[in-house]
């Protein structure tokens, strides 16, 4: 159980976590990169934006 850096909610993680893996927070939905595994440290994953007529 780790805290989401975006919204502060608890994030449930599976056991065989690997660094670099991308999970999402089930509260705010943000994509999180696993930085460290024991104990788990998460950070916002970088993302690509869509360009809508801009």
């Amino acid at each position: 159980m780790t805290t989401c850096p975006e919204c502060g909610a608890d994030v449930t993680l599976h056991d065989d976590l690997e660094a670099g893996e991308i999970v999402d927070c089930t509260t705010c939905g943000v994509e999180l990169e696993v930085i460290e595994t024991a104990p788990p440290v998460l950070d916002r994953a970088p993302e690509l934006e869509e360009d809508w007529g801009e």
Partner: protein, 378 residues
């Protein structure tokens, strides 16, 4: 949903669990009335007694509402009401206020979906509608927007189910008021919030709604050929739900409504300029605290994938309100999004939710449909 039935919901649920009460629906051939029939038919604690329609009296309820096909229930005249535990009224505004004494002759509890009993005073009605026929009932009526005033509902006799656009707007803004991010000191009104907000603080609410908000009646502007593909300002100013919102949040809002191409759905985008600086973390804390135990509120504020913010099609057919926000640092603005299904959380679902609380049933009874994916124009 965010997490199962709320603590509040569970309170009396067990006592009432075995109980079944009878219910009738006045205005059952309409869109909100048909949804009430559908929900009551699938509800563990309600038995439908009557469904009224003047135009369809004698016909089966499935003749107008495909999900009810095969049901033996037939429409009766709204003047032939039998005794019942709960009477739901889903008639145009003005009808219930004229028949409210009759309604209480046949029923112990009346749940009204129209605007007739939502405001506190007759003066407000004169200002926003056309005068009130039964002002004595205004004080007795409990406005139902359970997330905000759940405590008022147990045992209520007359429930005024919150309006669709007002519900969407209020649910979006409420955490900002509750947590002092906007509106300063709050003085609760009717279970609600501030009524002494500084008048110069402006909230702009820009709402987009589906065609089912107009009811089953139809008319030239709502024909498929004219209404398809629109972004049509239909209430540019002076929308009557402003009254409800102001009564509840204690501050006026600058409200504009657009018809867009969907059938179900109301989506409110509120543009708020808080007095002081606010961070995304502050916002997350406020919204999570306000809603984390709510069975029918789901937060969506950024995230990833296709569905990042609240949107009506993600809640179509459900009693869920999606609520979310974004922070615009460049103009010190909080943009709040909230999306509901106007026929569910905006009317019939909210009414059943309120009745569940009033009668001591589990809050989520009969309201557990989680929605569809994919779904088109809901």
């Amino acid at each position: 949903m965010t997490g199962g039935a709320s603590a509040a919901a569970a309170t009396d649920a067990d006592d009432a669990a075995a109980e079944t009460v009878t219910a009738s629906v006045v205005g059952a051939s309409g869109f909100a009335g048909g949804e009430l029939l559908r929900l009551l038919a699938g509800h563990p604690h309600f038995d439908i007694q009557q469904a009224t329609s003047r135009q369809n009296a004698g016909k089966s309820v499935g003749s107008t509402h495909p999900p009810l096909r095969g049901t033996e229930l037939r429409y009766t005249e709204p003047t032939d009401l039998e005794s019942v535990d709960v009477l739901f009224a889903a008639t145009p505004h003005g009808v219930s206020m004229g028949r409210i004494d009759e309604f209480f002759e046949v029923a112990d509890t009346v749940v009204d979906l129209s605007a007739d009993f939502r405001l506190d005073t007759a003066a407000q009605y004169d200002a926003w509608y056309d005068g009130h026929d039964a002002p004595a009932y205004l004080a007795k009526a409990e406005y139902a927007l359970p997330e905000l005033n759940r405590a008022n509902l147990p045992g209520a006799d007359l429930i005024a189910s919150g309006g669709c656009n007002a519900t969407a707007t209020i649910l979006g803004l409420y955490p900002l008021f509750e947590h002092g991010i906007f509106g300063g000191e709050t003085g609760a009104t009717d279970g609600g919030v501030a009524d002494e907000v500084g008048g110069d603080e402006r909230i702009v609410v820009d709402v987009k709604v589906g065609s089912s908000e107009g009811g089953a009646g139809g008319g030239a502007a709502s024909s498929h050929a004219e209404r398809s593909g629109v972004v049509r300002p239909y209430a540019p100013t002076g929308h009557r739900h402003e009254a409800e919102i102001e009564q509840f949040l204690g501050t006026p809002v600058a409200f504009t409504c657009h018809a867009v191409d969907m059938v179900r759905g109301a989506s409110a985008t509120s543009h708020v300029f808080p007095d002081g600086p606010v961070s995304k973390g502050d916002l997350w804390s406020a919204y999570r605290e306000s809603y984390e135990d709510e069975p029918f509120v789901r937060l969506a504020a950024g995230g990833s994938g296709v569905y990042r913010y609240p949107e009506p099609k993600a809640v179509a057919g459900t009693n869920v309100a999606e609520v979310g926000f974004e922070l615009d640092p460049s103009n010190e603005r909080v943009v709040v999004f909230s999306a509901i299904d106007n026929v569910m959380k905006g009317s019939a679902g909210q009414a059943v939710h309120a009745a569940n609380i009033a009668l001591g049933f589990a809050e989520t009874a009969g309201l557990d449909f989680a929605g569809l994916h994919p779904v088109g124009s809901p």
